[in-house]
């Protein structure tokens, strides 16, 4: 069943072809796709020092890039390559379009984008990856949740409730964040006229980014509401017998979906089964909650404030020590959270399945389907790690390191020179305030033992890090100098062009 792409795929359904390396857009369970999702090993020192080196070389590269003046150097493929503001804005707009729920883009009765239980700015997962996983039936689709479920409801009562479900949760149309920000005409791409001409370059950039955010927020509401309307109109026309529509789910489909569901233990909403299950402890989790789970923001190790030590300014710390750990299972705290999804046997509907409107309940389970289940359950391709849906976590970490390195350029320089004069500088300056008795009790505590083990490893790498610090310093200085130089020469040229 369902191995030939049906009409649904062919009749101009506006689904972007999902072609990424490692994601065959073909049928479910095809060979080697699993490898690209398996957890990334980050625990050994090798990867760490590699990352540190790449950070240094990035600085050096960007420095030389500016120096040689070849701004269009296409061979420069670092993940930290500076994208233009325009490129970044286009990517953000594309992401916003990717998280619109469309009734005619569905998989097994659910959708490609979240219902809206969490706020928009928290939907920072890779929407292309998630869509592709849903189409491949490796992750449950985003179902429209029920607020409550009562097992005593009759079929008619349940259908009535499901028919009344909106495509998307209602929006906060005027969030405080954008209260006083003009958005102008959303249909016109240019909005520079909204910004005060006399503002400085920095003010201009600030305002530009604020207006862009506010406009995108409103655009997204507009795009989603357009989908909601077309969904409502189609439902109405079909109900009145004026039209037929293949994308709307049949009553059998709605009943089969919602008569057999469960509550997600995180959002407390009711969803059709099968849900995603945690790999470690087999607890259900809806896809909307799954995409919320991510690594903590980059931070320094043992960040918890230890009041016995003087607070060390983040500026004084080595940016290379910034770190993030893979997220833990929310239920049992096992590291590297991952979920397993086993798609429904008798319900291959929507994209790469039969049209939702033609679905009919199957009562007797056939033998072939039972076989299916045993094979898919053991299929490692069905494991999706939390990192897999945010593949850019490492870029983000490096970006944060660079940002910090830039901001604290001076502070680091002082720190480095102190370290060069006195190799024990870092430890002595921290320990002087602690009485000797206290020191021993602290090392027995949870935080203390952490610090101790990390400290010894740190010290052996100290000299390398000093060197790296210095290199970063020099690279930053050069690149900043060159950037200033570049800006000056651009300023000199620009009046002629404009």
């Amino acid at each position: 069943m369902g191995n030939v792409p049906t009409k649904l795929d062919q009749d101009g359904n506006p689904i972007e072809p999902v072609s990424r390396p490692g994601y065959p857009s073909g049928n479910t369970g095809s060979s080697s796709t699993g490898t690209s999702f398996s957890g990334q090993s980050t625990n050994d020192g090798k990867t760490r020092s590699k990352r540190a080196t790449s950070l240094v070389s990035t600085f050096l590269n960007s420095g030389s890039r500016y120096r040689s003046g070849s701004m269009q150097d296409t061979t420069y493929h670092s993940p930290h390559k500076k994208r233009s503001t325009k490129e970044k804005e286009q990517m953000k707009e594309q992401h916003a379009r990717n998280i619109i729920v469309k009734y005619d883009e569905s998989v097994d009765g659910g959708f490609m984008a979240p219902f809206g239980s969490y706020s928009y700015d928290k939907l920072d997962y890779d929407a292309t990856v998630v869509k592709s996983l849903i189409i491949q039936r490796r992750l449950a689709p985003f179902y429209t949740p029920l607020q409550d479920f009562d097992p005593t409801w009759s079929r008619e009562e349940l259908l009535k409730i499901v028919d009344g479900l909106p495509l998307h949760a209602s929006f906060d149309e005027n969030p405080e964040e954008f209260e006083d920000i003009p958005i102008g005409d959303l249909k016109k791409p240019n909005f520079d006229y909204l910004i005060d001409k006399s503002s400085s370059k920095k003010e201009y950039r600030n305002m530009h980014s604020k207006i862009f955010k506010a406009r995108l927020y409103q655009k997204r509401i507009y795009w989603q509401e357009r989908e909601n309307e077309s969904f409502l109109e189609t439902k109405l026309e079909v109900r009145e017998g004026k039209a037929q529509n293949n994308y709307l789910p049949s009553n059998d489909l709605k009943y089969d979906l919602y008569s057999n569901g469960s509550e997600c233990p995180i959002c407390f909403l009711y969803f059709p089964e099968p849900m995603n299950y945690s790999k470690c402890c087999q607890q259900p989790i809806c896809t909307e909650c799954f995409v919320q789970i991510k690594r903590a923001e980059p931070h320094f190790p043992h960040e918890e404030v230890d009041p016995t030590k003087p607070i060390q300014n983040d500026n004084e710390k080595d940016p290379n020590l910034l770190t993030t750990e893979p997220s833990n299972c929310p239920y049992c705290a096992t590291a590297e959270f991952a979920v397993v999804y086993t798609p429904p046997k008798n319900r291959k509907v929507g994209i790469q399945g039969i049209p939702p409107a033609t679905y009919k309940s199957v009562n007797e389970p056939s033998e072939t389907n039972d076989k299916d289940e045993t094979t898919t359950a053991k299929n490692p391709n069905n494991v999706v790690s939390s990192d897999a849906i945010r593949p850019d976590w490492e870029n983000k970490l490096n970006k944060e390191r660079i940002r910090l390195a830039r901001r604290s350029a001076n502070a680091t320089a002082i720190h480095v020179s102190n370290q060069l004069i006195d190799p024990d500088y870092a430890s002595t300056s921290n320990d002087t305030t602690i009485s000797s008795s206290r020191k021993t009790t602290i090392t027995t505590s949870r935080h203390g033992s952490n610090t101790a083990s990390r400290g010894s490893r740190q010290r052996s790498r100290q000299s390398i890090q000093d060197l790296e610090n210095e290199m970063i310093q020099e690279a930053i200085r050069l690149s900043l100098e060159d950037e200033q130089q570049q800006n000056k020469s651009l300023k000199n040229k620009s009046p002629k062009k404009k």
Binding site: F268, I293, T441
Partner: protein, 151 residues
């Protein structure tokens, strides 16, 4: 303000229909994310017979972000500072969205039953606790009868 998430509504309902022994949590009338909390001092601890008032606030990103909890009643405890702030891992780095208001308050109650002076927030108290446990417990008991009297 966006409407209250279903999860918060259901948690509040369940706190009322299925209360935790020794703990009450009631949402504020004009802010349903703000809870008035009381915890009874656990039997056998220096806080026994005390009734401690706390405030609990559910931030916008709850349950992806931990609730903010603070003691309002003055308390002598190595993991609770003068401002009532609590040093409890699940309120910080070990928070999980699968935890709830109920589990958080149970953990706070457990912290009263077994203080951990080796992972302190209030250092002077912790030092006292390590050097002279009997004296520290007596002081905690004294503070309980002074500030946490049941009315």
């Amino acid at each position: 303000m966006a409407s209250l998430p279903k999860r918060i509504i259901k948690e509040t309902e369940r706190l009322v229909t299925d209360p935790v022994p020794g703990i009450t949590a009631e949402p504020h009338d004009d802010n349903l994310r703000y809870f008035k909390v009381t915890i009874e001092g656990p039997a056998g601890s220096p806080y026994e017979n005390g009734l401690f008032h706390l405030e609990l606030y559910l931030p916008d990103d709850y349950p992806m972000e931990a609730p903010k909890v603070r003691f309002l009643t003055k308390i002598y405890h190595p993991n609770i500072d003068r401002l009532g702030r609590i040093c409890l891992d699940i309120l910080k780095t070990n928070w999980s969205p699968a935890l709830q208001i109920r589990t958080v308050l149970l953990s706070v109650q457990a912290l009263l039953a077994s203080p951990n002076p080796n992972d302190p927030l209030a250092n002077d108290v912790a030092e006292d606790w390590i050097k002279n446990e009997t004296g520290a417990k007596a002081k905690a008991k004294e503070w309980t009868s002074l500030y946490a009297k049941k009315e």
